[in-house]
Symmetry: C2
Subunit: 406 residues, 2 copies
C-alpha cells in the first residue's frame, strides 16, 4: 500500500504545531508529510504589534521553519496556496500542485475592511512580518519628515488605531512605550504626538471584564492615549480619517491609520467550495470538514460553536495550539487505522493582554482577574511556554521573553 501524503497548509500556530507533533509521532515509512508556507519562517501573530510599534525586532518574532521542523522528516515547500480542489484531493500553489491523502488547512486570517472607503489602500494592518515592519518604518519616516519639512504637518505625528479589541489595545500600549524613544531620536517634543483610538462600541474591549477594561484605559490614558469611543470610521484618506460620532462627521489629520478592527477567515476556504460559515469551515468534533473525511481545518479556518452560548468560540493562538494536538492525533489514527478519532474540547485558559510599559491585564481560569506586574509576568510565561512546546529549550532561550523589566 502506498504511503499516505499528508499536506499541511500554513505554518501559523496550528499548522506548525501539527507538523512538529507529527514528525515526533510518525515514522518516515508510515507517511509523507509536506508543510506549505508563504515564508520560510513561522511567526507569532500575537507578538506582531510589538514589531509594528518598534519595541521588539521582527527577528525575535519569527522562527525559521528549519529550526523547528526536521526537514529530513517533513518536506517544506515555500509557496503560496492559490486554491484547494477537495474533489480531486489537490492543492494548487503559485508554482506547482500537490496531491494529498490527508489535508490540514491552517491558512490563518485576512483583514476585513467591511468596505470602508480608502481603508484597503491607505490603512496599515498588523498582519504579518512584512506589514508590521512596514508600520514601524512608516512611523519613523513620518517623524523624520515632520522634522525635515519647514511647514510643520502635525498629521505626521498623529497615529490612529482603528478598533479597541485585544490587538488594538495591545498595540496602543506598545505605541505609548515607543513614542518617547521615537521623539528623542527625531528631536520632537513628545507632547505634540497624538495616539488616538477609534472604537465603535461605547468602550474598548467590549464584552471583556469592565473593571479590567477600565484599568486598561486608565493605564493607557495616563501615558497619553486618547480614546474616541462610540465612533464609526467612515473613510480613510492618505492624509486623514473621517469618523462619525453622535451623528456628526469629524476629521483627524493623519498619515498613519492602523486598522485593528476586523479579521476574517482566509478567502481560499470559501473559494475552494467548502461549506462555510463566514468563510470558516464549521468543523466536526474531530476537526474534520463536514463534507470531507480527509480534510482538517484548524485555527482561524475552523469554526467551533460553544454549545452553551450557541455562538462561535473566538479564534485564538491558544485554541489553534490545542487543536493541533487533536489534529495530529487524529491523523495518526487515520494513517495507522487504529480506530476512534479524538474529539476536540476547547479549554479556555483566559486572556492576558499587555499594555506595554510593564503593565498588563488578565482574566484567566475561573475568573481570576489580574493586572500590573502579575499580569505582565503571566503574559511572558504564556509566550515562553509556547516557544518551549514548539522548539524546546533551545528555541525558548533564543527567542523567549525573560527581561520582565525591559
Amino acid at each position: 500500500m502506498k504511503k499516505p501524503d499528508i499536506v499541511i497548509l500554513g505554518a501559523g500556530y496550528g499548522g506548525i504545531m501539527t507538523a512538529v507533533k507529527l514528525q515526533k509521532k510518525l515514522n518516515m515509512n508510515e507517511a509523507t508529510i509536506t508543510l506549505v508556507n508563504k515564508y520560510d519562517y513561522h511567526y507569532q501573530t500575537t507578538w506582531l504589534h510589538e514589531n509594528a510599534a518598534g519595541t521588539l525586532h521582527h527577528d525575535r518574532t519569527r522562527i525559521p521553519i528549519k529550526d523547528v521542523v526536521d526537514t529530513d522528516k517533513v518536506h517544506f515547500v515555500m509557496d503560496t496556496v492559490v486554491s484547494i480542489k477537495p474533489e480531486k484531493k489537490k492543492v494548487k500553489l503559485e508554482n506547482g500542485e500537490l496531491y494529498y491523502d490527508i489535508l490540514v488547512i491552517g491558512l490563518g486570517f485576512e483583514t476585513a475592511t467591511f468596505g470602508i472607503p480608502g481603508l484597503k489602500e491607505n490603512a496599515f494592518t498588523i498582519e504579518n512580518i512584512n506589514s508590521a515592519r512596514l508600520i514601524k518604518d512608516h512611523l519613523e519616516y513620518n517623524f523624520a519628515m515632520y522634522q525635515y519639512e519647514d511647514e510643520k504637518n502635525h498629521g505626521r505625528l498623529n497615529i490612529v488605531v482603528g478598533g479597541g479589541g485585544f490587538t488594538g489595545v495591545g498595540y496602543l500600549g506598545e505605541l505609548a512605550n515607543r513614542i518617547p524613544a521615537l521623539c528623542e531620536e527625531y528631536d520632537i517634543n513628545k507632547s505634540i504626538v497624538r495616539i488616538i483610538n477609534i472604537e465603535g462600541e461605547s468602550t474598548v474591549l467590549p464584552g471583556f471584564d469592565p473593571q479590567l477594561t477600565e484599568y486598561a484605559m486608565s493605564s493607557l490614558e495616563s501615558r497619553g492615549v486618547e480614546f474616541i469611543t462610540g465612533a464609526v470610521l467612515k473613510e480613510c484618506k492618505p492624509d486623514r480619517i473621517i469618523y462619525e460620532k453622535d451623528g456628526r462627521e469629524m476629521e483627524i489629520p493623519t498619515y498613519t491609520t492602523v486598522w485593528a478592527a476586523g479579521v476574517r477567515a482566509n478567502t481560499i476556504v470559501e473559494e475552494s467550495g467548502f461549506e462555510h460559515n463566514h468563510g470558516k469551515i464549521e468543523v466536526r468534533h474531530d476537526l474534520r470538514a463536514p463534507d470531507y473525511d480527509d480534510v482538517f481545518a484548524i485555527g482561524d479556518c475552523a469554526l467551533i460553536i460553544d454549545e452553551k452560548t450557541d455562538s462561535p468560540y473566538p479564534s485564538t493562538a491558544q485554541m489553534a495550539v490545542q487543536q493541533s494536538e487533536t489534529v495530529a492525533h487524529n491523523i495518526m489514527s487515520l494513517v495507522q487505522e487504529t480506530g476512534e478519532l479524538d474529539e476536540y474540547k476547547p479549554h479556555l485558559l483566559g486572556t492576558v493582554t499587555s499594555l506595554g510599559n510593564n503593565d498588563a491585564i488578565g482574566d484567566v481560569l475561573n475568573n481570576r482577574k489580574m493586572f500590573g506586574m502579575k499580569a505582565v509576568i503571566m503574559k511572558k510565561i504564556i509566550d515562553n511556554r509556547y516557544l518551549l512546546k514548539l522548539g524546546g529549550v533551545g528555541l525558548l532561550m533564543r527567542k523567549g521573553k525573560f527581561n520582565i523589566f525591559y
Copy 2:
C-alpha cells in the same frame, strides 16, 4: 565706552570655531559674544553622508552647542537668520532682532538645483542632520515597502546619486557598505539592489588625481556601484529620473534620488545687499567684507581667489577652520585696538575621501597620494583632530572615530 557686541551667525565649522576661540581669548568685560544658530547643535557636514546611508548614527555627527561653547561667556540664540542690514548693523531673526558692532557671517551653503525640473521637489540632499536622517529612513521605508507589496516595484531598490564629486563618491562608498545589512534586515537578495551614480563629466572626481580616481571607481564598482558618466540629469520625478547621454534620453525607475551635485552660498548674503560673487562675499585678506569694516565672512560665505590660478579656492571644512583662527584674531585686534589685522593664507593640506568598507583615497601635502588602509587611517585622524580642536579630549573621546576596522 560700551562693550562691543560680537554676533556670529551660524554654528558650522567656521562659526563655532570662531566662538570657541573668542571665548578663550576675550574676557567677559571686553565684549559680548552672541552665537546664532538654527539648531541647538553643531554638526560635521563632512560626516552627514554616513548618517544618510545609515552607517553612522546622526548623534555621532552632531554636538550640542552647550557642550563646546561656554554659555557663561557666549550667549547662544537658537533662531533662524532672515536678513542682515549692514547699514543699520542689525540682523533680523525669525523671532527677534540683534544689533552688532562686529559681525561674523558663517551661514554655510545651500543646495543648487540649477533649475532641473522636479529636483527640488523629489530629490533628497545631504545638507543637514534632518535631511540626512530622512534619507536613511526613506531607504528603509522603501525596502520595507518592496517586501510588503505583492507587485514588486524595483524602483524602490534603485538608488540614484546625482553627482560624482567628493560628497557623491563618499556617499556611494557608504551606501555600498550599508546595502548588505539593509538587505538582511528586509529579507531582500542584495543582487537586485542597484546603486547608480550619474555624473556629467567623463569621470567622477573631475580634476582630481586620475590614478586615485580610477582606484576609487574600481573599489566602488567591485562593491556593486554603477557609474553613468557623461550623463546629464534632465528631470527627477517621484518614481524615476530621466537623463541624457550621447544625445539619447534614458530613464531609471527610482524613488530615491540623492542630489550631491551642486551647492551655492547662502542666499541671505546676496539678499542682504552685500557685494557678492555668485552669492559669496569676496573678502579682503583680513576676511572682512569689501564694503564693511565690521563684517567678516567665513567658510562657504567667503570667496577667496587663488592668485596663482586666478580662480576661487574650494570651500572646505579645512579652510573654514583655518579662517576661524584669523577671524578670531582680527576680532580681538578690533576689540582691543591693538593694531594690524592678520591676513588669511590658505594652507591646503589636501583631500582624503572615504570610500566606505575600510577603503579611502587621499591626495595630501606635496602630492603624496595614498589609498586603502593608510588613507582610511588618515581620514579618521583628520576627523579626530577637528574634534580635539573644537572640544578637547572629552569631545574626542565621546565622538571620535577610533575603530578603524568597523
